[in-house]
């Protein structure tokens, strides 16, 4: 799985442009595409309709009268309790959680991966194996001990605590990612640097880091989407004032005041999904590499 780079299709080539196989092929693909695109379409059109129009009926119909009101409301007016500042608060919370978490987790994991591939020491492989197996342990078995640990170091409910939790749980996959990358770097390069008198950090910063930029981009994509989309840790290790956007979204959608405002809900949902979607559409193949990194084997 090392490289998911698309080297060109391999299957047999269909013969004619309008052959029966071709029509079947594209027909199937288009049908399936509709299943994948449907929710996005429905969310967008719903978020642009007014409530009366929604009540009239068809979720799939395009809006007769486009209104941006739901978006405004979702962003800055929707209420949870007496706080009626919409998702904007959650957005900024997410940003505040995201940036340090991404930086910290990648910093730790890249050094780990570098140490594991070039500076093996007795037991390092054991720790690494435990770390990787840890990625498969259900979070539920660790949630409560972490509450206690965070309490002991005084970070419970604090943004710092959540940053730490994200760094801890991001470590297995990221370490694996970086270890595999650094292992693929010719060992002789590392040896040459040692002969040149460079130590642990100098080799890391001057030799390895500049070479690993693509993998850093992959790691950033992986972490940004992962942390942005997190719900479980956000709901357990933060307080309402610092809720990330996903948790706030769930709150807004599930704290109904009178009538469910589906258009506002959909606008809020889209707003929450916007950041990872934008990253997805901008990063293209790197995103694929990023998520496939989770599947990368040793």
């Amino acid at each position: 799985m090392a490289d998911i780079a698309m080297t060109g299709p391999r299957g047999p080539k269909p013969k004619k442009r309008f052959s029966r196989t071709n029509i079947f092929l594209y027909g199937t693909l288009i049908m399936i595409s509709m299943y994948y695109l449907l929710p996005l379409y429905v969310m967008i059109v719903t978020s642009l309709k007014g409530m009366p129009e929604i009540r009239l009926g068809n979720v799939f119909g395009p809006p007769l009268e486009i209104t941006y009101e739901p978006w405004v409301k979702a962003w800055s007016e929707a209420c949870t309790g007496v706080n009626c500042d919409g998702l904007s608060r959650g957005f900024w919370n997410s940003v505040n959680i995201l940036i340090p978490s991404v930086v910290l987790s990648i910093a730790i994991a890249s050094v780990n991966g570098y140490a594991l591939s070039n500076w093996k020491f007795k037991g390092s492989e054991v720790f690494f194996t435990i770390l990787i197996l840890g990625a498969f342990i259900p979070y539920q078995t660790m949630i409560y001990p972490i509450v206690i640990m965070l309490r002991e170091i005084g970070l419970m409910g604090d943004l710092g605590g959540l940053v730490l939790v994200h760094s801890v749980f991001g470590m297995p996959i990221l370490t694996l990612l970086f270890r595999n990358y650094f292992t693929s770097v010719p060992e002789e390069l590392f040896k040459a640097a040692r002969v040149d008198g460079a130590g642990f950090w100098r080799i890391y910063f001057q030799i390895m880091l500049p070479m690993a930029l693509p993998i850093f981009v992959v790691a950033v994509i992986l972490q940004v989407t992962g942390i942005w989309n997190d719900f479980l840790f956000g709901v357990i290790y933060t307080k309402p004032a610092t809720y990330p956007m996903t948790v706030q979204l769930n709150n807004i959608v599930n704290s109904v005041q009178g009538v469910k405002e589906y258009n506002v809900n959909m606008a809020a949902t889209l707003l929450t999904g916007l950041v990872p979607l934008v990253i997805y559409f901008l990063s293209g193949k790197l995103f694929v590499r990023g998520i496939a990194a989770g599947a990368v084997k040793g």
Binding site: E188, K191, A192, A193, R194, V195, D196, G197, R202, M211
Partner: protein
């Protein structure tokens, strides 16, 4: 000062070196002394421990037991950069993100040398290796030969006494390899540094080395000049390993100064025995294909045989003939002009003084 340090006659000394990865012993009780200014080649097939030994000398592998001395200093546990060595790798190992100049000066910067000193040394190395026009390029923009020159330059700027080469020419194509080999030899003549050179290519070994250490299974099989290695291999392994096409071996018996194989008897007149031989024993005789005489010259050889030509491989400069000698196939190197055809019977001559005789049981040279 040098007296205090107990200056040794050797540039590099390896004493009772042991290296094991877990239960696997890679090097065992290895001793090797390398003279000042010597070009020593570690030769062997892959997995024989030659690169491992080089990495131990460089300090890139932690040894299990023993000592390594460089320039009269015990450096067994010193950092690679503190050993006074420079190293050149097979894959060049140039830092891809730095320019040639950056590559050359990286080690000097780490050693915190003054800037003008760095400039001076880089300029000198670039001049010696004729890479001045490349200084501001990145390795990606260089050809293989240029890259290896830069890699050598990186060792050169360090101004060290011992150069370590780990198969530096293996990644180059055949023609470049020859060119660079010549240059390396010239460089050694010019600098007169100690050089330890790892290769699996016997031509490189023969052409470059002052002495060659042939290695097998983590031990040195023979340490000697190229001439010794070639003409007087100390055991069957070395005899077989060195030379292409390889030596012809005939298994037989050694009795009263004569070697008998089947119904042929070869008196070993003129053979330079390693020790006076009295005991009779099973033995193996080795004759290099190029030492088999054909044509007119056969008359001058003490031993002559008639053989049937089985197969002929013309190679341009010379011709390799496979001939049947009794029940053995014998390889004979003939002149490129020689006209031989399969099915012919030809006469060959052998000079026992140029052959090698081995004890069959111990495989050591007699």
């Amino acid at each position: 000062m040098s007296l205090e340090l107990g200056k040794s006659a050797y540039s590099v000394e390896i004493k009772q070196l042991d290296l094991a990865f877990g239960a696997v012993k890679v090097l065992q009780g290895l001793d090797l002394n390398i003279n000042e200014g010597e070009f020593l080649v570690l030769l062997g097939s892959s997995g024989c421990g030659k690169s491992t030994l080089l990495n131990c000398i460089a300090g890139l592998l932690e040894i299990t037991d023993g000592q390594i001395w460089i320039k009269g200093q015990n450096v067994t546990w010193a950092e690679p950069s503190e050993r006074g060595i420079g190293m050149v790798f097979q894959s060049y190992a140039l830092y891809p993100q730095m320019t040639v100049k950056g590559n050359l000066s990286f080690g000097l910067k780490n050693a915190k040398l003054p800037k003008d000193e760095i400039e001076k040394r880089v300029a000198r190395a670039a001049e010696i290796l004729q890479i001045e026009p490349l200084l501001n390029r990145k390795p990606g923009a260089l050809s293989g030969g240029q890259r290896q020159r830069v890699a050598i330059g990186r060792a050169l700027v360090r101004d060290v006494d011992v150069f370590l080469f780990d198969e530096p020419l293996s990644n180059l194509d055949a023609k470049l390899r020859v060119d660079l080999r010549v240059e390396l030899k010239r460089l050694h003549n010019q600098l007169q540094n100690t050089m330890i050179y790892v290769t699996h290519d016997q031509v490189e070994a023969m052409t470059l080395a002052d002495r060659i250490a042939v290695m097998k299974g983590g031990a040195i099989m023979q340490l000697g000049t190229p001439d010794e290695i070639y003409n007087k291999p100390r055991n069957l392994y070395v005899a077989d390993f060195i030379g292409s096409p390889s030596m012809n071996f005939l298994e037989g018996h050694f009795e009263d100064g004569r070697f008998t194989v089947d119904d042929m008897v070869m008196p070993m007149t003129g053979y330079d025995f390693a020790a006076p031989q009295t005991a009779n024993r099973p033995a193996v005789i080795g004759i290099r294909p190029e030492h088999v005489v054909t044509g007119e010259l056969v008359r001058n050889t003490p031993l002559r045989y008639k053989v049937d030509v089985d197969l002929v491989e013309p190679m341009g400069s010379d011709t390799l003939v496979y001939a049947k000698l009794g029940r053995h196939i014998f390889r004979i190197r003939m002149d490129g002009q020689a006209v031989v055809q399969a099915g012919e019977t030809i006469e060959i001559g052998v000079d026992p003084s140029r052959a090698s005789l081995f004890d069959k049981a111990t495989e050591d040279r007699l």
